[in-house]
């Protein structure tokens, strides 16, 4: 599976750690980092929208800006992720394509675990799809 990852300077160190960890698990990592968090996030959004990449990870200081930017795109669900439950449930229920991590909030080991949970978990579909269709009706 191809995973797009990007960070600004605040997230660069954690991004390298997560990237190396997922590479070691056999994921093909595409690094789309940029000094500007808006550009970094949109690089990942475009990678998802263009197809070929099904998961994205964006890292800055708190994960808030990537969440705001990514989820304001049609067809994109983004999850700021700081703990295990959300990292997998947001795949099961929300079909999330992009997670946002905050380097100030989650340490290396937890961040790697969150990223792995996210990339390996599949969407449940079924009744949850009405909510995704509704999100796509909003924007």
């Amino acid at each position: 599976m191809k995973v797009a990852i990007a960070a600004n300077q605040a997230g660069a160190k954690l991004k390298d750690t997560v990237k190396e960890y997922l590479s070691g698990k056999g994921y093909e990592m595409e690094d789309l980092s940029d000094a500007d968090i808006f550009t970094a996030t949109m690089n990942v959004v475009h990678a998802i929208q263009d197809g070929g990449t099904t998961r994205g990870i964006v890292i800055d200081d708190y994960g808030v800006a990537p969440f705001m930017i990514a989820s304001k795109n049609h067809g994109i669900v983004c999850a700021p992720t700081y703990e295990d439950y959300t990292s997998s449930m947001t795949r099961h229920h929300n079909s999330t394509q992009i997670i946002a991590l905050g380097a100030n909030i989650t340490a290396d080991a937890l961040s790697c675990q969150l990223a792995e949970n996210f990339v390996k978990t599949e969407y449940d579909g079924g009744r949850h799809q009405i909510r995704i269709d509704m999100l796509n009706r909003e924007l």
Partner: protein, 171 residues
């Protein structure tokens, strides 16, 4: 302050406690629902909170669902909303100070009511600390959503809900 609050059926009890906390602090609370535990859909309530904030009918919004992700994505997709979904106080404060967030959310199955009270308290006390860089990023985020009918059209979800009633969506 006038605060809009919404949730889905998973965390209605948590939402009511959060609303009571805000009222005790002297805020006017607009509870957009849901009001019970009957299965419903988080975009309905995320959009309602987002609409009230975007139109200025509420000063701020609070969105809670199981993880907070679904309902805060729904709020975020309303033009003018800048939502944060957090698990701790520092991120909530950073969201306000750096991005002037106007919706704060969390997962009712992720954090307990004690943490939610701390997050709400800190978020409401925090103030945006402008710099030219922050102003520019916020302006860019606010300009992202093209003109659409999301705020005006209260029948936005009718077609989806009709299909739901017809049994189109099933596990």
């Amino acid at each position: 302050m006038k605060i809009a609050i919404g949730c889905d059926h998973i965390v209605t009890d948590i939402k009511i406690k959060a609303a009571e906390f805000l009222k005790k602090q002297g805020h006017e609370v607009i509870d957009v629902g849901t009001h019970d535990f009957i299965r419903t859909h988080y975009p309905i309530y995320g959009r309602k909170v987002g609409k009230l904030v975007a139109t200025g009918e509420a000063d701020l919004g609070v969105c809670i669902c199981g993880t907070g992700i679904g309902i805060n994505n729904a709020a975020q997709k309303v033009s003018g909303v800048r939502a944060a979904c957090v698990t701790d106080v520092q991120t909530a404060v950073a969201a306000k100070e750096n991005l002037n967030a106007n919706v704060i959310g969390c997962g009712g199955r992720v954090v307990g009511i004690g943490t939610i009270e701390y997050i709400l308290d800190a978020f409401l006390k925090a103030e945006y600390k402008p710099t030219p860089e922050k102003d520019a990023l916020i302006a860019k985020i606010d300009a992202m959503i093209p003109e659409n009918d999301c705020i005006e059209n209260d029948h936005l979800f009718d077609e989806c809900l009709k299909k739901w009633d017809e049994g189109f969506y099933h596990d």
